[in-house]
Symmetry: C2
Subunit: 269 residues, 2 copies
């Protein structure tokens, strides 16, 4: 069934006018007419069945009928991604939405030379990806900040996995600010085990608390992080450095791989 | 350093004429001149340092100097992918190369209507991705076959993970031909544990033998597999069904996610 994201409050009986491009999609592209059913969601009220009640030259009109699914959010995972070129950045927004990310932060790093981005266009990509992947919410794409600024204001209760593609000394020891980063899947499992153990000391172990612990994944620019940035990241208590295998990955591949491993190890897969 | 794939045998002192588009890339795009150094690989002889000895209007000439790395292959993982549209298919070839796949089989399924594909173009994408990802080999892109034919001639010692996106009855039991498929990471770990246990009975446990056990990942067309195909796949002893989370993934996202999980659980990550 076709799914559309709309800003309207959704409840049985209300009427909804889709935006012109949505109306064109329904009537001209998909050739739906009066009586056809689609699903609507707004990120707040769950998913609702709606019926096309009227088609005119200027658009179409929908009437909301019944709830299909109650509102639900994916686990609390965010993506922090350096501004890369337009095509991989758009791929990352689309795929991060399919992979259940709740919020996407764009950052400028020392090796990022682009600081211009069409935020509205990226948000539209997130909306369309959410419609197609079956989510009931749309990830927010936050306007670009300097990495430095983002880190200064970071909530330390949210762990940040830093995919450290380059610069490891293979002869160094594992872990620590100067040691080698672990493979991402292992790093996530160790962090999680440590956190569960800490929780266990102060309270009864609860799978819900574990499920809700907030995380983020950081993906660098195509040229990698600057040595100064790497040192700074590794010195922060909420940062977990990790590696993604022996081959060089493009930024979009690294983002998809890291988000996949998080969902499989700690998320809702 | 720039890396080029060439067909020539590589050994110290031999001369190599890059193809016209490679020569144009080196001299016109990257503006390299005599004395500049690049790396060459051919999928057989390892990686070699080479120096540009001459640049002319018609191309350039390289002289091979010394070996940088001995020949090495990624773990024995293949990808079987239904013919999807051109753009996601090209993304899949590029990303599968970065994710260390050794061979890519293209298949026609019941819900695939395309049977035409520019094989040479796809192979070029694999070569360029191998150059950029730092591999010493290039995955072979095999010309399209019917899924039926591929399965008939399948070597049963190679396990095939079937990413079964749709059709599961959520009330069914786990496993078996009619049961629910497991999440992919769990499915890979159970298979691997079962295999190691079986090996253990007849011989001493050997990590090398485990490392070398061959696998493949199967990704269906955008419309999913036909119920008949799903039944057939699930009845085959070498097939492991698996799921990739609660959201609907596009074919390219599913391919990257499945290959990532395999590399993290059983591969070289």
């Amino acid at each position: 069934m076709i799914r559309l994201f709309v800003p309207n409050d959704l409840t049985a009986g209300v009427g909804v006018e889709p935006k012109p491009d949505q109306a064109r999609y329904l009537t001209a592209v998909m050739r739906l007419g009066p009586g056809a059913e689609i699903a609507l969601f707004n990120g707040r009220d769950g998913e609702w069945l709606a019926r096309i009640s009227e088609v005119s030259r200027r658009g179409c009109h929908l009437v909301v009928r019944e709830m299909l699914r109650g509102q639900h959010f994916p686990p609390d995972l965010e993506l922090v991604v350096a501004l890369v070129k337009r095509a991989p950045l758009e791929t990352i927004i689309e795929k991060a939405t399919e992979l259940g990310v709740r919020r996407i932060h764009l950052v400028m790093t020392r090796r990022t030379n682009s600081d211009h981005v069409k935020l509205e266009r990226l948000q539209t990509i997130a909306v369309e990806a959410a419609e197609q992947t079956g989510r009931l919410d749309v990830p927010e794409v936050v306007k670009p900040l300097k990495l430095e600024t983002l880190l200064q204001d970071w909530d330390p209760s949210r762990r940040l996995v830093f995919c450290d593609e380059a610069g490891d000394d293979p002869s160094a020891e594992w872990g620590g600010p100067d040691g080698r980063a672990k493979p991402l899947l292992q790093a996530l499992k160790s962090e999680n085990a440590a956190e569960n153990a800490a929780q266990h000391e102060v309270q009864h172990f609860s799978p819900e608390a574990q499920q809700n612990s907030p995380w983020a994944v950081l993906i660098g620019p195509e040229g990698g992080f600057d040595p100064e940035e790497r040192r700074r990241l590794r010195s922060l208590p909420f940062v977990t450095p990790a590696t993604l295998g022996p081959r060089i990955l493009r930024a979009d591949t690294a983002a998809i791989a890291a988000l996949t491993l998080w969902q499989a190890a700690l998320g809702d897969w």
